[in-house]
Amino acid sequence: MLLASELGTLFRRVRTIAMLGALALVPILIAVAVKVTTAGDSGRGPAFLDQITQNGLFVAFTALVVSIPLFLPMTVGVVAGDTIAGEASHGTLRYLLVAPSGRLRLLAVKYAGAAAFCLAATSVVVVSGVIVGALLFPVRDVTLLSGDTIGPGDFAIRCVLLAGYVVLSLLGLSAIGLFISTLTSVPVGAMAATIVLSAVSQILDNLPQLEAIQPYLFSHLWLGFGDLLRQPISWDSYGQNALLQLGYVTVFGGAAVWRFLTKDVLS
């Protein structure tokens, strides 16, 4: 099965393992840094950071929040940008197509591979964060934004929901990367373009003059997961984000299909 082969190739690759390893270091670095400087001048640093000392469960949460703007889009950009362009640059694209893989099927498998990487990358941050948080800090009941208190087990479920939200957030970017990847046989170019677009989208999202277009930026709801930390959970932002990402997947996935089905493979 081509999908199994794709996943095997992707996750056995040293580059993929190195990126996942680097992501696993994010919560570890945060936890160690907080532990070492635990003198406790609260009020500084990103949100949630000072809460870590009271509850190790916040390590995973904080690490995810810290990874969303840069680390996750960067690694996803590498994988999504490499999908087609990487095969083209190895010359293996022509052999896959001659096998024959079918162009639509290959594109679908490649996108599924990129989506699997989004899931793996997010999971690595959460799992690594939960483990290191539990090792270095006390684990207690968690007070939510709504003031309610839930137990560690319930909070673990929230973390899974949050990870799902982040994976969802990255699907649009993956589709953009896939499309760019069909335009070139230089994978580094496609990777860089994808990563730059994720930065541009986030910058535009912060310019007040562009308020009119901001709801349509694919990164607009990347940090909009506060609803998952209320009791009861409000699914509005989940739904909005799903709709937004679906739009990007449809438009850029469609563009990738159109481009790839008609493309002359000359590399």
Partner: protein, 316 residues
């Protein structure tokens, strides 16, 4: 009319203003080893890309294994093994893992026999010992063999091999030829492109010659040899008299004076029934002294140079 394994009509590919392939009418009979010959840049690889559905044609039709391409690509290509513009692999995977992946890309290839087929293909090209090495560490010759193994992963009705002996040492070249012959003996059609005439002469029964995007000749090697022009060569110390006699026979000899005072007269023989002995008798009857007389056939190489207007690299 024999069955055709590959058939194109007016196949054309245009890149911007440039015509890479111009109105190609290929007819590759089933069961033959067919040479696709032409200088570098004459449109061979572009043609192969169109045959395999990698590139679209600007115009014209393709039929492969009795089906229209590229519309029947999903049913035709599993029966076709191909080596296109050099072998290509994932450098970070072993030779064996590369073949497993490429085999998995074909939806119709049976999973149950995958490992056995991959091992058999590796064995056939002599790569069993290096199967677990990363492709990154393979020499060019080993990559070429691995590419060939990929083309032989399943029983094929047609092999399309683009320059299969590129980068191989003489021993490797011989082995590749042996593999191609064994595939042909099993009944498959083999379509081999090359810019090396010697390669094609040793392997093929049929040949098509490309030049600047056009097909300039097609047929059996024998037919091409028969088309070649025959020349009468006369060595004589009396060039003027000899030329008059030959002109009297309707020939138009060119004269080259040799350093020893004699001359070499060369004339094309337009009529294959006109025999050299007629010329000999006429020369003798006219009292022309003759040192030597011969009929020289054009070599196949000269024929191809004449057809393509370009030299071939004939160092096999």
């Amino acid at each position: 009319m024999p069955q055709l394994a590959i058939e194109t009509h007016g196949l054309t590919k245009r890149f911007g203003a440039q015509l890479a392939v111009d109105g190609l009418d290929l007819a590759v009979p089933a069961g033959t080893v067919f040479g696709f010959l032409g200088p570098n840049g004459s449109g061979k690889t572009t043609t192969i890309r169109m045959l395999l559905g990698l590139a679209s044609s600007t115009d014209g039709e393709i039929r492969m294994l009795e089906e229209a391409m590229p519309s029947a690509i999903e049913s035709v290509l599993p029966r076709v093994g191909a080596l296109v513009e050099g072998p290509a692999f994932y450098p970070f995977l072993s030779g064996r893992a590369n073949l497993l992946r490429l085999d998995a890309a074909d939806r119709r290839s049976p999973l149950g026999t995958r490992r056995a087929r991959v091992d058999a293909a590796l064995e056939r090209v002599g790569l069993t010992a290096a199967a677990r090495k990363r492709a990154h560490a393979y020499s060019l010759g080993m990559k070429q063999r691995l590419g060939l193994a990929n083309a032989l992963l399943a029983p094929r009705d047609l092999l399309i091999l683009d320059e299969p002996t590129n980068g191989l040492d003489p021993q490797g070249t011989r082995e590749v030829r042996a593999i191609i012959r064994s595939v042909a003996d099993e009944g498959a059609t083999v379509f081999v492109s090359s810019h090396l005439l010697s390669e094609i002469e040793q392997l093929c029964s049929h040949v098509a010659v490309m030049s600047r995007g056009r097909l300039v000749a097609q047929g059996t090697l024998q037919e091409l040899r028969a088309q070649s022009i025959r020349r009468l060569v006369v060595l004589s110390p009396d060039p003027d008299a000899a030329r008059r006699v030959l002109a009297g026979l309707g020939l138009a000899p060119s004269v080259r004076v040799c350093p020893d005072g004699g001359a070499e007269l060369t004339a094309e023989l337009p009529d294959p029934t006109m025999l050299a002995e007629n010329a000999t008798r006429a020369l003798v009857e006219a009292g022309v002294r003759v040192r030597g007389i011969a009929v020289a056939g054009e070599t196949l190489e000269e024929r191809f140079v004449a057809l393509t207007g370009e030299g071939f690299d004939v160092a096999g």
